[in-house]
C-alpha cells in the first residue's frame, strides 16, 4: 500500500510539473496570437486613446514575462485571478461551467462505459459472430461521423419528434431529474462518439487473453464461456480497459466543445474557446489547467486502479 502512496505522490509531483509546462505553453501560445483583450473588447471602435486607456486599466502594458509571473504568483497562492474582461473572479466564472461539464461527462460516462464494456465483452464472447461484426461495423461507423453530425441526426430523430429537448437550458433551479432529461441528447451523442473506442479496446484486451493457459484451464474446469470471460479474462484485462476508459473520460471532460455548441450547453469548452477569442488569458489559463488536471488525475486514477486490481503489483512476494 505504501508503494501506491509513493506512486501517487510521485505522480502528483510530475502532474504539477506538467501543469507548469502547460501554463507556459498556453501562455506563450496566447501571447503569439495577434491582438489582445483591449482590441477585442473595443473592436473596430478602438481609437489609440481608448485602447491605451483600456490597456492601462487591464494591466496589459506590463511585459509578458512579468504578467506570467504575476499570474503564477497568484496561482501559487490559490488565487486564479479575475477575468480580465468581466472582472469576475475566475473561480466564480469557471465554477458553474465546470459543474456542467462534469455533469455531462459523468452522464455520458454512465451511459457509455457500461454499454461499451458490455458490448466489448459480448463481442469477445461471440467473436467473429454476426453480433461481433455488426457491433464492430456500427461502432466504426459511429466514430467516423463528425460529432455535430451525430448530434444533428439525433436531434432530427429524437428532438423534432418531441421526445427530448434539442437544447439544454440549465439554471440554478434546474432539478437533477430535469438535468438528466435535458442532457440526454448531448450525453447520447457523446456516448456514440466514445463507445466505439472503448468497446474495441475491451474486446481486443479480452481476446488477447483468451489464448492464455489459464483461460484454457478455466474451460477445462468446465466453466461456461460467459464465466470464463467474466471471471477469468476480464479481471486480467482490467488494466488496458481502465486506461482506455480514463482516456475517454478525459476526452468527455476536455474535448466536447462541438457538442456544447450544438446543444447550447454551457460547459467549459465553449468558455475556453470564447476566452481564446477574447484573449482573456487568465480564463484560458485556468481552463487549460483544469483540463490538464483532469487529464493528469484521470491517468493517475487509471494507473492506481490498474495497480490495485493487479495482485502482482498489490501483493508482492
Amino acid at each position: 500500500m505504501n508503494e501506491i502512496w509513493r506512486m501517487i505522490g510521485r505522480r502528483l509531483l510530475l502532474g504539477l510539473l506538467t501543469l507548469f509546462v502547460i501554463s507556459v505553453v498556453i501562455f506563450g501560445a496566447t501571447e503569439l496570437l495577434p491582438g489582445d483583450l483591449a482590441r477585442e473588447l473595443l473592436g473596430q471602435s478602438a481609437t489609440p486613446e481608448t485602447l491605451a486607456a483600456l490597456r492601462e486599466q487591464l494591466g496589459l502594458n506590463d511585459p509578458a514575462p512579468i504578467r506570467y509571473l504575476n499570474w503564477l504568483w497568484g496561482v501559487l497562492h490559490g488565487d486564479f485571478g479575475v477575468s480580465m474582461a468581466t472582472k469576475k473572479p475566475i473561480a466564480e466564472l469557471v465554477g458553474g461551467r465546470l459543474g456542467n461539464t462534469l455533469f455531462l461527462a459523468l452522464y455520458a460516462a454512465a451511459l457509455s462505459v457500461p454499454l461499451s464494456l458490455m458490448l466489448g465483452v459480448l463481442a469477445a464472447l461471440w467473436r467473429n459472430s454476426v453480433f461481433d461484426r455488426m457491433s464492430n461495423a456500427l461502432a466504426l461507423t459511429s466514430i467516423s461521423f463528425p460529432e455535430f453530425f451525430v448530434a444533428y441526426i439525433l436531434i432530427l430523430w429524437l428532438a423534432q419528434t418531441g421526445l427530448f429537448p434539442s437544447m439544454v437550458r440549465i439554471t440554478a433551479s434546474t432539478t437533477f431529474s430535469e438535468r438528466i432529461y435535458m442532457g440526454f441528447l448531448p450525453a447520447l451523442t457523446l456516448t456514440l462518439v466514445v463507445t466505439a473506442h472503448m468497446m474495441r479496446m475491451t474486446r481486443a484486451a479480452i481476446i488477447n487473453l483468451l489464448a492464455s493457459p489459464y483461460i484454457e484451464m478455466a474451460r477445462l474446469k468446465g466453466m461456461s464461456p460467459l464465466r470464463v470471460v467474466l471471471r477469468h479474462a476480464v479481471p486480467n484485462a482490467l488494466a488496458p480497459i481502465i486506461n482506455v476508459v480514463a482516456l475517454n473520460l478525459a476526452y468527455l471532460i476536455t474535448g466536447v466543445v462541438v457538442v456544447e455548441v450544438v446543444f447550447v450547453y454551457p460547459g467549459l469548452g465553449q468558455l475556453m474557446v470564447d476566452a481564446v477569442t477574447n484573449r482573456d488569458i487568465p480564463v484560458v489559463q485556468a481552463i487549460a489547467l483544469i483540463f490538464a488536471s483532469a487529464y493528469v488525475l484521470l491517468n493517475l486514477v487509471a494507473d492506481v486502479l490498474s495497480t490495485i486490481t493487479n495482485p502482482r503489483l498489490m501483493h508482492r512476494r
Partner: protein, 538 residues
C-alpha cells in the same frame, strides 16, 4: 482381477488448421484406460500427446477439431454429448493439470478461490466445505503452511508449490480421471522430485485414474502403469512400463531410450592464457548482489559448462562477460587483457570475439528479418563483406549448420522448426568469426533428438574453428555429453568447479551431490530409492 474400463478411445482423428487447410494431428489412435490406472503418454513435440490428452476430456483447442473416432468416458459418448454435458464432466469427473502451473493459474485470483470454483460451480460442495477440503488437500500435497497458502496469489508461490496446488485443485471434485500434461517439465530437477512424489501419492491415495503426458521417459517410468509411445499422431507401441523399459519393441522407442548416446570424452585440461578469464566478479541489480566473487577460466577449444538451478546466477555471469551488466567488483580478461566493463565501451573487434547463442531462438531472432540478413549482418558489419562475397559467406554458413542454402536463405524465422532456428542462432554467432561463444541453455527448449543434433554440430564446429564455449545449462545430461570442465553455481556463488570426470565421479560438495542425484534415471524404482535414501518418504 479385470478392472472396470473408464475411458475408451477408438480410432480418434484430430485435425489442426493452418490457413485454409486442415491437417491431421492425431491419426487414428486407440486408447483404453481402466479405473485407477495410470497411463503414460510419451513422445516428442508434435507427437499429438497433449491433443490426445485433451480429447479425453472431449476438448479440442482453438483451431483444432475432432474429425473422427469415438471417445467413451464411463458410458458417455463425449463426441455426441452436448457441450453442456461435456462441460459438466470437465473439472468434476475429468480434471486437468497443465504443464506450467504459473501460467495456468489465473493471476487475478487467490489459489483457494480457484480451488473452490470447480466444486462450487459443479455443485459438488458448498464454498465453506470446499475451503476446508482445500486445506486438507494442500496438506496431503505436502505444501508448506497449508492453512494459509491458499490465500496467496499465484505469483506469491514458487513453481513447485504451484504445481502441487494445481494437482490439489484437479483433485477438488475427486475426479475419476486426471490428465497430467507434462506437470514437471518446467521445474528444476530438485523440485521435480518433490512434485513427482506428491502427485504419485495423491493419485494412489484416491485411486484416481490418470493419463500422464511427458517427453521424459525416466519420469514416466516412475509414474505410469502402462506406457503408450506416440510419433507424429500415430501410436508406435504400448505395453506395461516394466516390459516397455526392459524390451521396447519398436526402433523408434529404442531411439528414445538411447538418449545421450552422444558423449565426447573430455579433453585434457588446457594450459596457457585462457581466452576468457572471469576474475572475482561481484555483480547485481539495484542493491542486490546476484553474483558473489565468481571466478573461472575458459580456454580455447574447451567447453566450460556452468550448471545450476534457476536463480543460481548462470545467466548473469554471461551478462557480465558480454558487458551487458558491468560488474561491481572484479574484471573480465580476454586473452589476458582486461575488457572494458560495459559493452558500450568495447571496440567492435572486442565485441566480435565473443558471441552469444540464446535459449529461446524464437525471441533471439528478429522475426521480421530473413535469414540472409540475420546471418549476413554480422559478417557485413564486422568483416566488411559486401555483395557477392557476403552472399557466398552466408551460403557457406548455412551449409556449415547443415541447412540447404538455396532453400532457406530467403526464409523468415517463423518458417523454420525450433531446431533450425537454433542453428541459425549458431550461424549468426559464427558469422562474426569469434574466438568464444556463450551458449545460454541452447538445447533446453528442444526435443531430445534435436538437442542431440545441435550438440553434435557445436562439437564439430568447435573442433574445426578452435572455439571456446561457455555452456550454460541446468541439464546435467547435456553437461555429461559436451563439457570439459564444469562450474556448479548456487545462489550466485561457485559451489564447485573442476574437470567433468572428477566432478561427476566424486562431487565434493553436498549441493553438487544433490543436483546429480536428482536427475531422473531410467529405473522403475529410482524415485522410491531416492526418497528412501533422503528419508523423506517411504
Amino acid at each position: 482381477m479385470e478392472k472396470q474400463v473408464l475411458l475408451t478411445i477408438r480410432d480418434l482423428k484430430i485435425e489442426g488448421r493452418s490457413g485454409d487447410a486442415w491437417h491431421q494431428i492425431v491419426k487414428g489412435v486407440d486408447l483404453t484406460l481402466h479405473k485407477g490406472e495410470v497411463l503414460g503418454l510419451i513422445g516428442e513435440s508434435g507427437a499429438g500427446k497433449s491433443t490426445l490428452g485433451l480429447a479425453a476430456m472431449g476438448y479440442a483447442r482453438d483451431g483444432c477439431r475432432i474429425s473422427g473416432g469415438s471417445i467413451d468416458f464411463d458410458g458417455i459418448d463425449l463426441r455426441a454429448a452436448p457441450e453442456a454435458d461435456r462441460r459438466a464432466l470437465r473439472g468434476k469427473r475429468i480434471a486437468y493439470v497443465a504443464q506450467s502451473a504459473a501460467a495456468s493459474f489465473n493471476p487475478a485470483h487467490k489459489l483457494i478461490d480457484q480451488y473452490c470454483e470447480g466444486p462450487v460451480v459443479h455443485g459438488v460442495m458448498p464454498r465453506e466445505k470446499a475451503e476446508a477440503d482445500a486445506v486438507e488437500l494442500y496438506r496431503r500435497m505436502r505444501l508448506p503452511n497449508p492453512d494459509e497458502i491458499g490465500f496467496r496469489y499465484p505469483h506469491q508461490v514458487s513453481g513447485g508449490q504451484l504445481q502441487r496446488a494445481m494437482t490439489a485443485m484437479a483433485m477438488s471434485c475427486r475426479p475419476d480421471l486426471i490428465i497430467f500434461d507434462e506437470p514437471t517439465t518446467a521445474l528444476d530437477v530438485t523440485t521435480q522430485i518433490e512434485v513427482l512424489a506428491a502427485i504419485r501419492d495423491i493419485v494412489r491415495q484416491f485411486g484416481t485414474a490418470a493419463i500422464y503426458i511427458t517427453h521424459d521417459l525416466a519420469v514416466v517410468a516412475q509414474m505410469a502403469d502402462r506406457i503408450k509411445v506416440l510419433l507424429r499422431g500415430d501410436e508406435v507401441e504400448e505395453s506395461d512400463t516394466r516390459s516397455m523399459l526392459a524390451a521396447p519393441r519398436e526402433d523408434y522407442t529404442r531411439s528414445l531410450w538411447a538418449v545421450r548416446s552422444f558423449a565426447r570424452p573430455a579433453l585434457p585440461a588446457a594450459t596457457g592464457t585462457p581466452v576468457v578469464s572471469v576474475r572475482n566478479v561481484t555483480a547485481g541489480y539495484g542493491a542486490v548482489d546476484v553474483l558473489k566473487d565468481v571466478s573461472f577460466d575458459i580456454h580455447a577449444r574447451r567447453t566450460v559448462a556452468v550448471v545450476g538451478e534457476s536463480g543460481s546466477g548462470k545467466s548473469t555471469t554471461a551478462r557480465v562477460i558480454t558487458g551487458l551488466l558491468p560488474p561491481r567488483k572484479g574484471e573480465i580478461l580476454f586473452n589476458g587483457k582486461p575488457l572494458p566493463p560495459s559493452f558500450k565501451a568495447r571496440s567492435r573487434e572486442e565485441l566480435r570475439q565473443c558471441q552469444m547463442i540464446y535459449q529461446m531462438a524464437d525471441t533471439a531472432l528478429n522475426p521480421k528479418l530473413r535469414l540472409r540478413e540475420l546471418i549476413g549482418r554480422p559478417a557485413e558489419m564486422y568483416l566488411g563483406l559486401k555483395g557477392r562475397a557476403l552472399e557466398t559467406r552466408i551460403r557457406d554458413l548455412l551449409a556449415l549448420i547443415e541447412l540447404e542454402p538455396d532453400k532457406y536463405i530467403d526464409r523468415l524465422p517463423s518458417e523454420l522448426s525450433g531446431g533450425q532456428k537454433q542453428r541459425i542462432g549458431i550461424a549468426r554467432a559464427l558469422a562474426a568469426e569469434p574466438q568464444m561463444i556463450i551458449c545460454d541453455e541452447v538445447t533446453s527448449a528442444l526435443d531430445q533428438i534435436v538437442q542431440e543434433g545441435i550438440l553434435k554440430l557445436l562439437d564439430r564446429l568447435q573442433g574445426e574453428l578452435n572455439l571456446a564455449y561457455m555452456f550454460i545449462t541446468h541439464d546435467l545430461a547435456t553437461v555429461k555429453s559436451i563439457a570439459d570442465e564444469v562450474v556448479v553455481m548456487q545462489h550466485g556463488q561457485v559451489v564447485e568447479r573442476g574437470p567433468k570426470a572428477e566432478l561427476f565421479a566424486a562431487p565434493k560438495e553436498d549441493y553438487t551431490n544433490l543436483l546429480l542425484s536428482s536427475v531422473p534415471e531410467m529405473d522403475l524404482d529410482w524415485l522410491n530409492r531416492l526418497l528412501a535414501a533422503r528419508g523423506e518418504h517411504a
